[in-house]
């Protein structure tokens, strides 16, 4: 890809890497069609609500310590400021630091949609700067400001002289893309274009893109074996830290969807290698990833030694628990960064994936390759029915109803509850480190076992509730509302 840091706009995933949100078929067909260029995403004539790209973009930026996010739009757009405030406080406290990031809205009203409000925005930026002296300022648009053509770039350029910290315009119109992960790219772009400086010296650091750094202490410990120091992004990052990420030895991420824009951009602009292996979930994932880190940082010996020690501890335990999991059937629904990774781990554990839903699908990663997690499955002759749906719950329910799996796994809030109402035990794979490495893969396997062992909660609830979908819908084909994209 070619990244243009001079422009504040980022092309959407649909336009940049051919991402889609509508497809039904199989994993192998999806890959085949991606490779030969025949894959066309479908749209839906009926859909249920999903997620706004601004939530992804601004959750990332507002997690950086001591910055300001100014969300120019009606109060509903900036509503995420409430959860950002909470997260910043509790995540900083857990880490033993402070985070005084502010996330404010502009409470745009009807007059503003007619007459514009750039002057008010200008004053708000200056006032926020005066009140809080943030270390960086992100000024972001919304659907309403985008449609009326509010020129936030000019406002930002205009105040730049009066503000002595990095300031960036961040384009977050929710209608731009159905793929909320575009928001991750938007946040990376803002950080790259306003904060990251060209390298002056190489450091012993690895950029580690993640969400909420729950495994931070143990990853620091792992990397200490290799004489490497991870820098976790962006939760609890400082602006100073971010300004130096071009000096790291490599970039890696816990989720390809989350990290690929930053990883590719740092590689393209500053020659920082981006580790593109399958991710750290499960046994083969963890080992492949560690070996790749070893390779790019020239530490393969240390990595092999570590793998050998750890295998001795964990592999026998994982083998033991696999006996109890064998034969279980699962449906999973996650972002593409996890769907195909978790499918691999389930396969390792002897659990059959009968259907995998990806909330979107990137035909090609920024470097033009098919996503590595998918390639791994195909190379290992693992195939299953698959669909792409941006959290279309009615499609998930249709699938669960038809397949009645032993287990449903999802990573997104609000989805597992519907599985249990269907009477299907569900595991909420919330934490991005839930399957990280040998240790968490073992814990994950045990959690699955506990979940299917005691089905009281879901069976009690399922007996008492009525599902909100009509019988008509359950009799339909899951793809009933998909239609070809009109050119």
């Amino acid at each position: 890809m070619s990244i243009n840091l001079e422009s504040s706009n980022v092309a959407t995933r649909e336009n940049r890497i051919g991402s889609i949100t509508g497809y039904i078929g199989s994993l192998s067909d999806l890959a085949k069609q991606s490779e030969c260029g025949t894959l066309k995403g479908c749209s839906r004539c009926f859909s249920q609500s999903s997620t706004c790209l601004s939530s992804c973009a601004l959750a990332q930026l507002s997690a950086i310590r001591d910055v300001a996010v100014i969300h120019h739009g009606p109060a509903g757009c900036s509503v995420a400021s409430a959860s950002a405030y909470y997260l910043d406080k509790v995540m900083a406290k857990k880490r033993g630091v402070t985070n005084d990031t502010v996330y404010v809205g502009t409470d745009m009203n009807e007059n503003d949609t007619i007459f514009g409000s750039t002057e008010a925005l200008r004053n708000i930026i200056l006032e926020v700067n005066k009140r809080y002296s943030p270390k960086a300022i992100f000024v972001t648009s919304s659907c309403a400001t985008g449609i009326i053509g509010e020129d936030i770039d000019s406002v930002v350029d205009d105040v730049r002289d009066e503000i002595d910290v990095p300031i960036a315009a961040v384009h977050c119109e929710g209608f731009k893309s159905r793929i909320w992960a575009t928001g991750f790219d938007i946040s990376d772009h803002a950080v790259l274009s306003s904060i990251v400086k060209p390298p002056k010296q190489k450091r012993n650091t690895i950029n580690f893109k993640n969400f909420y750094e729950s495994a931070r202490p143990e990853i620091i410990e792992i990397f200490r074996n290799f004489d490497l120091e991870p820098i976790f992004l962006y939760c609890n990052s400082t602006v100073e830290e971010l300004s130096h990420i071009s000096e790291s030895l490599a970039t890696t991420c816990v989720c390809g969807t989350l990290g690929n824009y930053l990883g590719n951009a740092l590689e393209e602009k500053y020659g920082v290698p981006y580790v593109r292996s399958i991710n750290q979930c499960g046994i083969s994932g963890f080992e492949t990833w560690l070996r790749e880190i070893g390779k790019v940082t020239d530490r393969s010996d240390k990595v092999e030694k570590y793998i050998e020690e750890q295998r001795a501890i964990y592999i026998p335990q994982i083998e033991e628990i696999k006996k109890e999991l064998k034969g279980l059937r699962a449906v999973i629904g996650m972002g593409p960064g996890y769907t195909f990774e978790v499918s691999r781990v389930l396969n390792e554990l002897g659990i059959e994936v009968v259907w995998a839903l990806a909330w979107h699908y990137d035909k090609k990663y920024e470097n033009g390759d098919v996503p590595p997690s998918m390639k791994y499955l195909l190379d290992n002759e693992i195939d299953f029915e698959a669909s792409v749906a941006d959290q279309q719950n009615f499609e998930v329910m249709n699938i669960l109803h038809k397949y009645q799996p032993d287990l449903y796994l999802s990573r997104h809030p609000g989805s597992t509850v519907w599985a249990i109402k269907n009477g299907t035990p569900a595991v909420f794979v919330a934490d991005e480190y839930m399957l990280f490495g040998y240790k968490h893969t073992l814990e994950f396997a045990k959690t699955i076992l506990d979940t299917i062992r005691n089905r009281s909660f879901e069976s009690n609830l399922a007996k008492r509730v009525k599902l909100p979908y009509t019988d008509w819908w359950y009799k339909q084909d899951v793809g009933t509302f998909l239609e070809e994209v009109k050119k």
């Binding site: 009926f46 609500s49 509903g76 893309s177 719950n393």
Partner: protein
């Protein structure tokens, strides 16, 4: 005009999807961007019969912005009727269709003959906050669904209170208000919460009067029903919390409804007996703890700032410091609400400030002399502030992170006791 919304405590008008969600088996159909529902939902108590990720949504994209989204809206409504088993479909518009000029009303009118009622409310985010959006939804029900009834059901009273979900205690409060009215011999009718839905909406026109318990939210709805349905209303501005206000409330409602005074007094007497049995037993805690001082501040919407100020002043003998109302109360209601803060026992008057800028609120709290540890009831934003002032803090208003409420409530006699329990649960965690 756009303003600095620092520490925001409300959502936008489309947040009224939660008002619809609170009506059992009513479903919002959103004509909006794909992520509005997720943003505007709270993760607590949202996974009922319908949850935000079930809400049909046109998920407007760039093409719809240019060419309009009416076709997508039509197929979305049409298929929502097929896929989702609901009693009432409420189409809510977000910012985009209202700016680009989609005629939502026209599309919805095509479903006049559908098996289930389909109505719509204009709830673009820039039209106001979710308190206003709540009123828009009720207006839509009155305008597009309800019809005047010649029949009146003796003793039937529609109760209206503040905004479901935005109000942490909405379910418990409305159930408790119903219970109190039953005790004085009336037949309450509400449309929100457990076992309430389309049948209750259908009963609205038969009521003898509407009872509005809110400083300002829904006053417009009451007037509309008075005009269109011929239903008079009693506006009781204070959320009655604790014995003093609840007894006053029952007397006023009873008088308006023509309930026998002796009956009202008997109900009051029974409640007050038990209430003061509890208060007497715990009076030592109230008097002799070392951390709850006399002065308190409430940072909340008009409903709770007024209700709690009256409760703490008139029942517990505390003294209001500056009070803050953060719901962006429309200007025309502010004077009347300010007057209510002057009606405290012993001629005490509370200073109340209408302010949506949390930075300014925090500065005023820091500047105030509380003669000791402050007691602050507010949003999650006040937690750190209270800690820095060594104060006592209770999270009563959105955003809420410090409390889980399933059906707890602060209204009525029992609600007052619950609030006391919450305040002193905080207090007893420290010695001095």
């Amino acid at each position: 005009m756009a303003k600095l919304l620092d520490k925001q405590r409300y959502k936008c008008a489309l947040g009224a999807m939660q008002t619809v969600q609170a009506i059992t088996r009513a479903i919002p159909v959103l004509h909006s961007g794909p992520g509005c529902a997720q943003k505007l939902s709270d993760s607590t108590g949202g996974s009922g019969y319908f949850s935000p990720n079930i809400f049909p949504c046109t998920s407007i994209n760039e093409k719809d912005v240019v060419f309009g989204g009416v076709k997508k809206l039509e197929t979305t409504i049409e298929n929502a009727l097929k896929v989702i088993d609901a009693d009432l479909y409420v189409v809510l518009t977000g910012c985009i269709p209202e700016i680009v000029g989609d005629d939502t009303g026209e599309v919805v009118s095509r479903f006049a003959d559908a098996d289930k009622p389909v109505i719509y409310a204009s709830t673009a985010g820039f039209k106001g906050n979710n308190y206003k959006g709540h009123e828009q939804v009720i207006d839509a029900i009155i305008d597009q669904y309800l019809e005047k009834s010649d029949e009146r059901e003796k003793g039937l009273v529609n109760i209206w209170a503040d905004v479901p979900y935005q109000d942490l205690f909405w379910l418990g409060n409305i159930k408790e208000l119903e219970k109190l009215l039953v005790e004085i011999g009336l037949k309450p009718n509400t449309i929100f919460g457990y076992n309430r839905g389309i049948d209750n909406i259908n009963r609205i026109p038969k009521a003898e009067f509407n009872l509005l318990v809110s400083p300002w939210v829904s006053i417009g709805n009451m007037k509309k029903m008075e005009r269109k349905l011929g239903i008079p209303y009693l506006h009781y501005p204070t959320l009655p919390i604790g014995a003093y206000e609840t007894s006053k409330f029952l007397r006023e409602v009873g008088k308006f409804a023509g309930v026998d005074e002796a009956k009202i007094e008997a109900v009051i007497n029974e409640h007050e007996d038990y209430y003061y049995y509890l208060i007497e037993r715990y009076a030592d805690l109230f008097l002799e703890n070392r951390v709850i001082n006399k002065q308190f501040t409430v940072v909340a919407d008009a409903q709770y700032t007024l209700g709690i100020t009256k409760f703490l002043a008139n029942d517990l003998g505390l003294v209001p410091a500056k009070q803050f109302i953060v719901d962006d109360t429309p200007k025309q209601y502010r004077d009347a609400i300010t007057e209510e803060f002057k009606k405290l026992n012993y001629g005490i008057e509370a200073e109340v400030v209408f302010e949506t800028d949390g930075y300014k609120i925090h500065n005023q709290i820091k500047e105030h002399d509380y003669h000791g540890y402050p007691l602050i009831l507010g949003s999650y934003y006040e937690k750190e502030l209270a800690e820095s002032l060594q104060g006592n803090y209770l999270n009563i208003l959105w955003p809420v992170q410090d409390k889980v409420v399933l059906d707890d409530f602060y209204v009525g006699y029992t609600g007052g006791i619950r609030l006391i329990e919450d305040i002193y649960t905080v207090a007893v965690q420290r010695f001095n």
